[in-house]
Amino acid sequence: MTRVVVDRVEVQQDQLQFGGPIGCRYHWLEPDEIDSYGDSVRRLAAKVELAADGFERTATLSEDVFAGEAADALRARAERRHEESVAVRDNLRGLGRAINAYSDVLRRHREGLEQLRAHAAALGLEIRDHRIWPPVETIAGDAPQKEVDAWERDWKAYQECFDLKIELRDARRASTRELVKALADHAGVHPDKDRQTLVPAGAHQVTFGELRREAAEEAMEAVRADDLADAAHRTVDGLKRREQGALGDLEEMVLAERPPEEIQAQATKVAAIHRELVEARVDAREADAVADREQAQASRAARDLRDAEDGTPRLVAEQTTSQPPTDLRNRLG
C-alpha cells in the first residue's frame, strides 16, 4: 500500500535499511520546546476567548442600553463575530493540545532511542557516532565454529536492534497521525498542500479523484464567496439609495416647515441608515477579501489538478514497510 507523504524527515526515515548503521540519538527539537510551542498556541486561544466574550457582551446589550435599527445591526454583527471567534478559539485550542500531545510522542521516541542504545551496548554491538554498527558482513568459510557462533550471535543482536528501531519509528508515525488529523481538522492544512517539501513522482501515484473533488469544492466555495460579495455590494447600493431618499425627504420637510418633531424623527432615520451603510461597507470589504482568498485557493486546486493530469505531479509515494536485503537475512538461517 502506498500513501502520500511529503515530510522530508519522514522521507529520510525511510532510508533505514537492514545491514546499515542504526541511528540511536534523538536529534530533533527537544520535546519540551515543542510542548512550550503548543502552550503558546493554547494561550493564544485563551486570548481569542476574551475577544469572544467581548463580542458576546456587545451582542447581548439590552434594549435598555441600546435600541433601534442601528443597535439591532450592531448586535447581529457582534453575534457573527462571536461565533467566528469561538470557532477560532476552538481550533487554536485543539491544535495546541495536539502539539502538546505530539511532544509526548517525541519524548517517548527519545526515551525509546536511549533504551535502544543501552540495549545495543548490553548486547555488545559497536556504538560509534551515535549509531549502532552492523557486524562484519562476511566470515571466512574455514573460521572456527566459535567465531562463526559469535558472528551469528552479533547479527541476531543487530537484527533485534534493527527491529526495535523500526518499531520505534512505526509507533511514532502511528501517533503522528493524530497530529496530522488535528492539523487538517483545525487549521485546514494537509500534507499534500505543503509545496516546499514535495518532490516529483510518477502520475500513477496521484489520487486524481481526490484532486478533482478538491478542485470542485474549492471552485464551489469561490463561487459562493463571490455571490456573498455581490450581495454585500447590492446591500451597500440599496442603503446608499435609501440614505439619499431619506436625506431628500429631510430637506423637503425642512423647506416645507414641518413640525420640529417630524424633522427630528426624519433626522434620526437618516442617522440610522447612515450607520447601517457604514457597517455594510465594512462587511462588503470583508466579503471581497474572503472572495479573493477563496479564488486564490480555487486557482491553486485547479493548478494542482492540471499538473497531475499533465503528468507532472508534486506528490511522492512512501514505501511503508522496509525491505531488508535478502542476502544478509539469509545468513541468519
Binding site: 515530510d7 527539537l29 493564544l44 442600553v65 496530522v180 487549521a187 485546514g188 424633522i263 440610522a272 447612515h274
Partner: protein
C-alpha cells in the same frame, strides 16, 4: 421604529472590553515563537499554526471594527443632538421669515 434608548456608560464599557481583548490578543500573537530546529512534520505544524494566527489576527481586527462601531454610535448620538438642534433653529428662522 422603536424609540432609541442609550446607556453610554454600558456601551463604553463594552467597547473597552473589546479594546482590552484586542491588546491581549496582539500581545499573545507576538509571544508565539515558531520553532526553527527540525522535527518530523515541523513545516506542516508551523504552517497550521501560522494559518490559525492569521485567523486570530482577523479576530483582533474585528475587535477594533466593532469597538469603532460602538464608538461611532456613542458619538453619533451626540451629533444627533446637535443636528436636531440645528434643524429646530432652521425651523425657527423659517418662522421669522416675512413672506412679503
Amino acid at each position: 421604529m422603536r424609540p432609541i434608548a442609550i446607556n453610554q456608560r454600558a456601551l463604553r464599557s463594552a467597547k473597552e472590553e473589546l479594546d482590552s481583548a484586542r491588546e491581549d490578543l496582539r500581545s499573545a500573537l507576538g509571544d508565539v515563537d515558531h520553532p526553527s530546529d527540525d522535527f518530523p512534520w515541523r513545516d506542516l505544524v508551523v504552517e497550521g499554526v501560522r494559518s490559525l494566527m492569521g485567523d486570530a489576527e482577523q479576530i483582533s481586527r474585528k475587535c477594533r471594527t466593532i469597538a469603532a462601531a460602538i464608538d461611532d454610535s456613542i458619538i453619533d448620538f451626540d451629533e444627533l443632538d446637535v443636528m436636531v438642534g440645528q434643524a429646530a433653529q432652521v425651523a425657527a428662522q423659517l418662522d421669522q421669515v416675512d413672506p412679503r
